[in-house]
Amino acid sequence: MKVLLRSPRQELDVEGPTRVGDLVTSLGFHRDAVLVIVDGRLVTDDVRLPDDATVEIRRVISGGAV
């Protein structure tokens, strides 16, 4: 399946099917640091993604130290 990462923009090919939570951790993200979006909708960790899915993993951590 196609995995889209934002800032910096990056596209990865990952073999499916897999669960959202597993995909996130297998790519080395902490689950609290990202949101996963499929077809414009948020999905929870237990959702199974088919091999032909297109998935956006969006980091939610901002850097400002004020």
Binding site: A33, L35, L42, T44, R58, V60, I61, G64, A65, V66
Partner: protein, 316 residues
């Protein structure tokens, strides 16, 4: 078994491991509003008669904050500051403008370069100053100033639970007791400074981002390039590693500090009132302990740095 919304058992859009709960869209949005109104009330931050100045950066936190405050019926106007950090700053201003325009809100703007003759990258070039410290100082100064000039009762910022937990972590690692004594979600007005409030301290940044996605709020996804590699990000990462193992760690750490830790660092009232009286900055009139306030010193140094005569000063 698939997770279900804690409230209605419908299909969930988000799971919040720290609350051991999942929510559908409607009940997640309600959960966020409740967390914010609870925070506002618990810390008596402001009420519906107060005029609020929302510090807006175009990022997920400040836009979610403004949106939630509007939903809760507060009287708000926004302020965006042009920091001069390349594309990031222009995106930030444009996004804030669009948000305000679409909702017919009042957005104040201050541009550092046009109005004060310097940018954040310019102010730190050739010095060992950390960009975020120069930037934070400038933002606080300008929020205060606009609030004073326009008669706002309180400046509200979008600091979230992750921000506060990371700052607390940093302050504890270095035992910065003076900072710990001031790390509160609301700071009263005084000495010519307006009240400051952080109504999002019970929401994590994953929640503020989800709020924006679900509400169709277009926010700046790109990170400020000057944040790269700073300690704040490293602290967040460390806390998220702990959170991964034990959901709820960040919340317990920060809310536990407010409940049980803070009182050990807060100065006694007598000490607060005995604090050195502030005078007006000779250059801009802002209250300050020195002759010129830190913002004016930063600006004047930046002006000096940008004259090309001085050489050999890259000593960091």
């Amino acid at each position: 078994m698939a997770r279900r919304c804690r409230v209605c058992k419908g299909a969930p859009v988000i799971d919040l491991r720290q609350h051991n709960a999942a929510f559908c869209e409607e009940h997640f949005l309600r959960f966020c509003r409740t967390q914010v109104s609870k925070t506002i009330e618990k810390h008596t931050m402001f009420d519906h008669d107060d005029r609020l100045l929302v510090a807006v950066s175009g990022g997920k936190d400040s836009l979610a904050l403004w949106d939630i405050l509007l939903e809760l019926g507060y009287n708000t106007e926004g302020l965006v500051i042009g920091l001069g950090i390349g594309d990031y700053s222009s995106q930030s201003t444009q996004t804030a403008r669009r948000f305000a325009r679409e909702r017919r809100l009042v957005l104040h703007e201050v541009d550092l370069e046009a109005e004060h003759g310097f940018t954040i990258p310019g102010a730190v070039a050739g010095s060992s100053r950390v960009p975020c410290s120069a930037c934070g100082l400038s933002k606080r100064h300008l929020f205060d100033r606009v609030a004073r000039e326009h008669g706002f009762d309180v400046v509200v910022t979008g600091h979230n639970l992750d921000d506060e937990a990371a700052v607390l972590f940093g302050n504890v690692l270095r035992w910065q007791t003076d900072y710990l004594a001031r790390q509160q979600p609301v700071l009263p007005a005084g000495d010519g400074f307006p009240r400051k409030a952080k109504p999002l301290v019970r929401l994590g940044e994953r929640e503020t981002a989800a709020w924006c996605v679900l509400r169709g709020i277009d926010y700046v996804l790109d990170e400020c390039p000057m944040a790269e590699g700073n300690n704040h990000l490293a602290f967040k990462d460390a806390l998220n590693a702990l959170e991964e193992r034990t959901p709820g760690t960040k919340q317990d750490f920060y809310l536990g500090f407010l409940r049980q830790g803070f009182e050990h660092f807060a100065p006694p009232d007598a000490e607060v009132s005995a604090r050195a009286a502030l005078a007006a900055c000779t250059s801009c009139g802002a209250p300050t302990a020195g002759e010129r306030c830190p913002f004016c010193r930063l600006r004047d140094n930046a002006a000096r740095e940008s004259t090309p005569i001085e050489l050999g000063r890259k000593d960091h």
